[in-house]
Symmetry: C2
Subunit: 106 residues, 2 copies
DNA sequence: TTGACATACATAGATTGACTATGTATAATT
DNA sequence: AATTATACATAGTCAATCTATGTATGTCAA
């Protein structure tokens, strides 16, 4: 029962930043976490996530490092100070949006 | 203090259907109403609304008629039975989305 | 009365974020 | 040995919105 992707546009960035504010994660892990935590309402795919991570990194809101886990290389992302600020701003914007929308549809 | 348009994508249709469920309205009137009711958080422009109305009409969720008001022609839109059903479905989807998002950002 | 502004509809073209499909490579499982 | 899951990546497509522009009429003040 996935949500229409027109709705989810724009929420990927704040969600990623929010997750990385808790702990460092690698891309594939983020996909599983989001799909799990949303009870399947979000159905993120690699094709959506990786370009988004690259964009966030280009904006210096997150940064990456390759880490060897056992015998496997994983690209771990951490949030930057600037990213924390962006997350807070985006979270506020999301709240305003949700409240406005609730009012409009009431 | 307008909301980023990536967020508002996908909400135009349910909002329009919701408004027309109350009363018939013409395009320009819808723009003013939405911008007013949202306290300026939504800043709809003609270039966004008219194509959306045409699409909804092509889907037979709304229908239009030209009405002469004084000396001015206005294109009034009304919601169809099918449109009412679509509105209810979309409203449910919006609620699920808002709840999921609130949970993810908590 | 004329210029400025608001009303009212319309659309072509650009932008952009997400999706589809595909590719590579390794690890785990059967 | 073959299949599946993990893990990263990107080219091409799609679609909803925005920008910019156009037409026409109504209103109001200088």
């Amino acid at each position: 029962m996935a949500i229409n992707s027109d709705l989810t546009r724009g929420v990927a960035e704040p969600i990623i930043l929010k997750l990385l504010a808790d702990r460092m994660m690698y891309g594939y892990e983020i996909i599983r976490e989001v799909n799990l935590k949303s009870n399947g309402e979000f159905e993120w795919k690699e094709g959506s996530l990786y370009p988004c991570l690259h964009k966030l990194e280009a904006q210096k809101l997150i940064q990456s490092e390759w880490i060897l886990c056992g015998s496997k290389q994983r690209k771990y992302y951490t949030i930057t100070v600037e990213g924390m600020r962006a997350m807070e701003a985006k979270t506020e914007e999301l709240k305003t949006f949700a409240n406005t929308l609730a009012m409009m549809m009431a």
